[in-house]
Symmetry: C2
Subunit: 325 residues, 2 copies
């Protein structure tokens, strides 16, 4: 057992504080070396309270994602049957895209404990600390024409919402098109990247980032006003494996529904979880910024909003701001 493992053992053995001196003795290393070991554990997702004269106390210990168990549960299913599991990657999205270009089949998942250059919408970064979230990308190969690609974005948001509700019992909702919120704070984002040849989608990579077990220390003060995790909201750590399994099964059920009955039932589900319908919001498109009231989805998956002059307008792509009531 190395020092890292011995330190974990010491910390997990008790829910009381253990002094730096005691650790120093047990491990046979200096107090400074103890502090360095503590920092190393924090980078691995451990949360450790440090109080002068009392020492260190373990608040939260992460557990590595058990990809093989999830693969077993999902064997023979449409999504999640194969999981490419990594410790750290630049971005799961990039790896999944490469796999898709090489012919990787539908349902392959790329999941990493940590992303060094996680991608969010509109070229933003996505903060993905070690072992505390679900950072994954799924290869989809739908027989959907390019005009209807937005339907898939909304389908993915419905799957994620339902999975989170089932696993955590939190009543999360959707901010158009596909952010998942709880009591106004963002828990999860979805990024769909598509490759098409003429009107036919060749593949779609669905990137899902879910703040599962992040603690308050994982957010800066400004971010804490807008973002949160399932652990913070539900008051307890959540099993990432259960969540991934639920997402894959929801995706399968919704895609089966979509393949058989088209987009209408998906749109109805989406609208039932939507947080912004009928409420005044700001919209930022590549061309302009304005306020409007989202009314409904179109058959193609765009959103229709009511403008201030009472006219209706179809929005294809925009960033939605805060809900203003």
């Amino acid at each position: 057992m190395n020092n890292n493992e011995r330190l974990i053992q010491l910390l997990t053995a008790s829910d009381q504080f253990i002094s730096g001196e005691k650790i120093s003795e047990e491990l046979g290393i200096s107090r400074t070396a103890v502090w360095k070991q503590i920092k190393k554990l924090e980078a691995q997702g451990y949360e450790i309270e440090a109080i002068t004269k009392q020492g260190y106390r373990l608040l939260y210990a992460p557990s590595p994602f058990q990809a093989d168990k999830v693969e077993q549960v999902l064997a023979g299913h449409r999504f999640g049957h194969t999981i490419h599991y990594y410790d750290a990657v630049s971005s799961t999205q990039t790896i999944a895209r490469e796999l898709a270009e090489q012919g990787g089949k539908e349902g392959i998942v790329v999941l990493a404990e940590q992303q060094l250059q996680g991608k969010g919408r509109m070229g933003r970064n996505w903060h993905s600390p070690y072992a505390k979230g679900v950072w994954m990308s799924i290869i989809l190969r739908p027989a959907t024409p390019i005009q209807l690609a937005p339907q898939l974005t909304l389908l993915a948001a419905v799957a994620l919402t339902r999975a989170i509700r089932t696993v955590t019992a939190l009543e999360v909702g959707i901010k158009w098109p596909n952010d998942i919120l709880h009591q106004g704070k963002k828990l999860s984002g979805i990024l769909l990247e598509s490759a098409a040849e003429e009107q036919q989608l060749r593949y779609v990579i669905a990137g899902l980032g879910i703040d599962v077990n992040l603690g308050e220390k994982d957010y800066d003060q400004e971010l804490l006003q807008k973002a949160t995790s399932l652990r913070i909201e539900s008051g307890k750590p959540q099993q990432r494996e259960k969540l991934v399994e639920a997402i894959m099964l929801e995706l399968e059920a919704l895609f089966n529904l979509y393949d058989q009955k088209g987009f209408q039932p998906i749109a109805e589900l989406w609208e039932s979880y939507a947080l912004s319908l009928g409420k005044r919001i700001s919209l930022t498109t590549p061309q302009e910024q304005f306020e409007a009231v989202p009314l409904r989805l179109t058959a193609a998956g765009s959103i229709v909003v009511r403008m201030d002059d009472g006219s209706e307008r179809e929005i294809y792509s925009a960033e939605m701001g805060e809900i203003k009531q």
Copy 2:
């Protein structure tokens, strides 16, 4: 001057037959070596008539594409300002996509004398013999949402139609969505590949294959019923440089129109060149095959067809068969 160059000089010096024996003497090589040199020239795009006891006669000599001159003409323009010119590539489409992924700007063109694995629609091969066609891919970066990507396919077909009409005076037309035909035979194909992030297109690669100076020997008998070249149809070789310049300027004019007035004027132009509107055709989608009569384009760039029961149906993606009148 090497044997290859000396042979070209001998053949171009006269429009009469020159005997194998004469060539053998002039070049100081065997008759068999002469035959091998002739075969080499044919692979370079030369067409040489060979008649027993008369010898060889030059029918057609290709000239290399002068990319630098075209770049000069198009300097400062939106498309064609930069041409990556290659002798032979697997596919110009693949190279253009890599350039776009690396941030290559709009209007960059990849053009090759020959494609070893040229790509057509629906995963088909595209026959691209040496120095006789325009085999090129153009990077587009339109601010178009993914739902409207089909509009770009139709815009490209209009640009190509107008450029061919201007340069060759041939009254070519469009078979939906974007094949260019002359008197029922295909002259050119377009393949648009798109990459999108959420609803926003990141880039589009427009691949254009134009059979410019192919001779009848470049087609097998079956293909000759369905395909042809500008040289065959117009009865004389065409300057590829002029054609590429005209295409780039048409694309620029049409994109300016599109950016200012939207898709409507583009749709009207497309319909004015369309060969299949109002005529009975067969349609093959990924799901089924049926006959119908194309009526008009939609605002998003799909096509509306009239079914046999009189109902109308919107077609997003299909292969259109022969026109049945």
